[in-house]
Symmetry: C2
Subunit: 459 residues, 2 copies
Amino acid sequence: MDVETFLAELKDHLTAHQIILDREGLSHFSYDATEQRFMPHVVVLPENTQQVSAVMRLAYKYDVPVTPQGGRTGLSGGALPVHGGVLLSLLRMNAIIEVDEKNMQVTLEPGVISSDLQQELKKHHLFFPPDPSSTVESTIGGNVAENAGYTRAVKYGVTRDYVLALEAVLPDGEIISLGRNTVKNVAGYDMVSLLVGSEGTLAIITKICFKLLPLPLKRITLIIYLNDLVKAADLVVSIFKAGIIPSAIELMDNISINTTADHLGAPLRREAEALVLVEIDGHHEGALREEANEILALCKGIEGLLEAKIALDDTESDRYWLIRRETLPSLKALGKDHLEADVVVPRYQLPFLVKAIRALKYSPAIKIATFGHAGDGNLHVTILHRRRNFAELSEAYTILEEVYKKTMEMCGSLTGEHGIGITVKDYLPLQMSESEIALMRRIKAAFDPKGLLNPGKIF
Amino acid sequence: MDVETFLAELKDHLTAHQIILDREGLSHFSYDATEQRFMPHVVVLPENTQQVSAVMRLAYKYDVPVTPQGGRTGLSGGALPVHGGVLLSLLRMNAIIEVDEKNMQVTLEPGVISSDLQQELKKHHLFFPPDPSSTVESTIGGNVAENAGYTRAVKYGVTRDYVLALEAVLPDGEIISLGRNTVKNVAGYDMVSLLVGSEGTLAIITKICFKLLPLPLKRITLIIYLNDLVKAADLVVSIFKAGIIPSAIELMDNISINTTADHLGAPLRREAEALVLVEIDGHHEGALREEANEILALCKGIEGLLEAKIALDDTESDRYWLIRRETLPSLKALGKDHLEADVVVPRYQLPFLVKAIRALKYSPAIKIATFGHAGDGNLHVTILHRRRNFAELSEAYTILEEVYKKTMEMCGSLTGEHGIGITVKDYLPLQMSESEIALMRRIKAAFDPKGLLNPGKIF
């Protein structure tokens, strides 16, 4: 790595205000939501694809590692420059280039903030379902790199399902176009899906075309309390069996309910073992009301039901979705350190995973909260502990590994939507064989023979 | 390639009735729906993954090419052994291993016939939307290898959207497991999507896990005749704008209407420039009726409407869907040879593509019919000619190239659902740059360094 010569030549391609070298400036880009820190040698803020290409070409020439970065809201450390070198922030490439109403597509740059896209599309009565809880800070490029999901995945799928085409810059600076602006395309390998979720390790995404849907006209939320987690799974199965596909089915366990109730002063039922929030959406209010009543009837058939009700209006709905959104911040506000697992199992196994986690033996200083996307089988497990207490820290890691092992026993995956990054990579061999990992490494090498792009991630 | 030694060792792993060497037997496996023929040296019919692995290991050892094959219904020649060697038919690996109602998944072997899966799932009130028109002959493995689409893609997506996990055998015989039986999974690169649609060039798929949906309870078909193709596109856009996502929107042009009417003796409106079939499906008959009436109202707002009606009952619906399904067979029954393009453009460009094709100058001996999936922008262009008349044949190829060029001008793709195979591979450089093709070749090499698996396809 020859950073000095690299920097000297870099100034031919970027202006002074696009290059950050001072310690305070570098520090700003050195951490994400994992609260880990890695200092880059330099931060660059390109403003167009040509500049990204120039940076990459130079970095390739002088063997300088490059880590792409969006809004720094990642939960697996994927955008942290663990090997130093160049931190390539895409925040200044933030144009929504075209909203194509007739073809229901949007073309945009990766630095667009998620909620800015949501607001723009609403004006056109268009809908882009993936909308992570970090929406006001996370970038679309980050969502694509991590294949973000969140609550609506149960009905609408994840980010990958909406990416039609990408422009990207390869590690050697070459600009490529992958996919087409068409909803179907089988010309060659699916390089688009390969780049989505590749955590910035294969190429730098510089332009994205998403397909869009018409904005659903109506939404209804149901609030359901149960005294048993397994009953929550039974309910989920019975909803699907009835032919209803909700737009969200979220689950909070007793600890999550109580911690969030404390933190927000929200009047939740603290004795419940499970709070299930169900959202249905659609085109016809009448049909939705009918569906909501069907779900209520299904609830009444479940032993262990404490309460089931339809939210009175949008205000009440919004209140419950805010409670769900604030679950992790509420847990964080307890002032403890936390380890998080983003495990996912086949939908019906979810409560059994929760029960298996409950059955783990651990000291009373540790608390484990579980909440997540019941419709997808995706559970966020938060292990609260004190990092500076070595016994607690090592116990927390033991629990984390146990959670991963239980997940593997249930044919699940180590991560449903947060990515492997640096926080999960040591556990990847629990899920993949040596030859499967070797195959991924060969694909990495097909894009990045020098291993300069986002090194130290995934494997 | 050392076929003799390969065959001698093969007999250690397969029984005599799993190896075909006689000319008549080989001939049976030598063609597909493209009507092209390539003779293999040997046909093998493995019955389990271990046997597939054994065949691959030996072929790798003796440098023998291997071409995997399903139901031979492909329209791009992807399953033809153009380099001879081993034809590996997966027809005997045809078990539906498990229908998991609670998790809404099915695990099966690649040789299962598409319509057999459809019938099995119906018993469980489950739904697997991709169902190509070749459903009674095509295999699920072929659908996965080609990423099959067909009519319901507009609402439900294509085969790739349903594949959760795959077991596959690499060219060197290694057995790998990709993906997980979970609806979300971001652990590592999306190798599942990479294999889907890779036309059997990366690995032999030996087991598949699909996610499923609840079976929609109700369906309604609308039959709409228009005197202008562009009005058909306006109608499609207005349906989406109204917030309605139909489960199918199909388009037939005047020639397709007349040829199919002649062939089936069907009472279609022959003067129409466009027949649009719209299917909506859902959970509530009342809401569906409302939607159907909304679509009728939208039709009435369109100048150039000849007729719009709701099919009276399932019998009338089925009749129209059969007419649509029989369009290509009807064109084939004209007794001419045909070249087909499976082009796809952004949805709203479709009629402009049809108009551009109409505007081409060609001799009266040639006929061009266009029909396809209007909701997806996917058009099947059938160029009818006589192959043995050299002037007509060369004119047909000139037209084919023009169709591809017009498609490229509209930011479309050379193939929406049939694949590149051998029939489209010469045109791939129209759509992809040299460096994009080179990148795909490096990915191919990451799986198949010796280039033995399904050689001669895609590039």
